[in-house]
């Protein structure tokens, strides 16, 4: 598992307020089905911005970005390439 994925998991565990432990989730698991609310997804994003010292651009601020661990990691990789 990449470092990015590990940090994303930690952030989700702390701020995602999911109904299940993050450890039990696959990279593709649907986070919304796991109980992620739009309210919590905002907190997750703020924490990710802090942890990775980056800013999510407007175009990534959509539901799909936070739909799974994989899509979050993908978004972060994308932001880093652009930076």
């Amino acid at each position: 598992m990449s470092d990015t994925a590990t940090i994303v998991r930690t952030v989700l565990e702390e701020h995602g307020r999911l109904a299940v432990p993050v450890d039990g989730l696959q990279n593709e698991s649907d986070l919304y089905a796991a109980g992620l609310t739009s309210h919590a997804s905002v907190n997750v994003m703020l924490a990710l911005e802090d942890a990775f010292d980056l800013e999510f651009p407007e175009r990534l601020l959509k539901k799909a970005t936070f739909s799974s661990l994989g899509s979050i990691v993908e978004a972060i990789d994308e932001i880093r390439v652009d930076a």
Binding site: Y32, A33, S38, L46, F56, P57, R59, L61, K62, K63
Partner: protein, 385 residues
């Protein structure tokens, strides 16, 4: 059965119904807190209830802007009729945009042919007013669903042919993982839990019920409610509700205009005292009209662009429409009353404004503005543009 006169637009035909049918019944609908039967019989007769269904499926293929205009026309004469019309069209929009299976195609066919009236049950006791969470859940028994929901309000439940009910996807799902189930009238049992005796929107007949429903599992819409909420419910609701309030404002401003004109006629050569205040009212009314018409046009221009619809910026914009429109209407009706004065304060006579005033206050309360502001405040933390 949708008798179409192609040379006249939907909103023109609805305007006629508003003036000739909904308007004359409005006082009685309000006084008795009864369903506006006559207006809906007339709307059904012109096929207005399936206006949003695509032409290839037998509907009018109307844009949200066009349905909005029709809603506004109704709102001018009877806000309850307009609100029911708006709430129905919101469910139709969900059915059209999210009902992909043959079962829902069939329901759209019935909607066109029988002009079904669709209602919704989204709020629930014990969830603190947050419609994006549910406590009740869809239980699956073989090929059938079963659900029971204690809803503090279901508008026109007793007059609807189907009720769209939100619930958790399964009994094990978290509160935010919701689906929308189309519960047909024959599959529903309604146990009333209260009365509907309110200050305004009295004709929407929205008391509480425990709703129990059992039917084929295929009646549960595929998309999650969260998805439908962002892509359809939120923008369509805020646009159409806005048109209801705009209709109320239209009526109030028209009242004020008539009053000032009458005063001017009685003393030609002098500007009536209310004329300057009328300028303020008309200025605000223009803001509201541009805002609300713009919201519908904005949705129409991006209605198939999921990236835009699910973006933070779009959600904030639609929340802004709701917050601004529902407060502007109160201000416009209040200021119009100041122009008209005691003639508007009277409950009788041609300038009476009591019902407009009572209805105007409903907008800020239905899906409470403070809740929406709280949601926007959250979104603003991450919004960049």
């Amino acid at each position: 059965m949708s008798a179409r006169a192609p040379d006249r637009t939907l909103s023109e035909r609805v305007a006629e119904i508003a003036r000739d049918v909904a308007g004359p019944a409005a006082a009685d609908v309000d006084a008795k807190a009864r369903f506006p039967h006559e207006a809906f019989a007339a709307l059904r007769a012109i096929g207005a209830l399936s206006a949003l269904v695509p032409v290839e499926e037998g509907g009018a293929g109307a844009s949200l802007a066009e349905v909005g205009r029709a809603t506004e026309e109704l709102g001018r004469y009877c806000a309850s009729t307009a609100m029911i019309f708006a709430m129905h069209q919101i469910q139709v929009a969900c059915l059209v945009r999210h009902g992909r299976s043959p079962v829902f195609a069939d329901l759209r066919r019935r909607l066109v042919e029988e002009q079904l009236l669709l209602a919704s049950a989204t709020t629930e006791l014990g969830i603190g007013g947050d419609v994006r969470t549910s406590s009740c859940a869809v239980e699956t028994v073989g090929e059938r669903y079963r659900l029971e929901k204690n809803a503090p309000v279901i508008s026109y439940a007793l007059h609807a042919d189907a009720i769209f009910v939100t619930a958790r996807a399964t009994p094990d799902s978290p509160p935010s993982d919701q689906v929308l189930t189309v519960c047909l009238k024959d599959d529903i049992e309604l146990e009333p839990t209260g009365e509907w005796d309110t200050l305004g929107f009295r004709g929407t007949c929205s008391p509480g019920f425990v709703i129990r429903s059992e039917g084929p599992l295929s009646h549960v819409l595929d998309d999650t409610y969260g998805d439908m909420s962002a892509r359809t419910m939120l923008p369509v609701s805020h646009s159409l509700w806005g048109h209801v309030w705009l209709g109320i404002a239209d009526a109030a401003v028209e009242n004020a205009r008539r009053f000032v004109r009458k005063a001017a006629r009685s003393k030609p050569g002098t500007t009536p005292p209310g004329a300057l205040r009328l300028v303020e009212v008309v200025t605000q009314h223009q803001q509201l009209a541009e805002l609300v018409h713009g919201a519908a046009a904005r949705f129409d221009s991006v209605s198939h662009d999921d990236d835009v619809l699910t973006s933070v910026g779009f959600a904030i914009a639609m929340n802004n429409v709701k917050l601004a429109a529902s407060t502007l209407v109160i201000d416009i009706v209040g200021r119009s009353l100041l122009v008209v004065g005691i003639a508007g304060y009277r409950e009788d006579g041609p300038f009476a404004m009591g019902r407009l005033l009572r209805d105007a206050y409903g907008g800020a309360l239905m899906v409470n503005n403070d809740r929406i502001a709280g949601n926007t405040a959250q979104l603003l933390l991450v919004h960049k543009d």
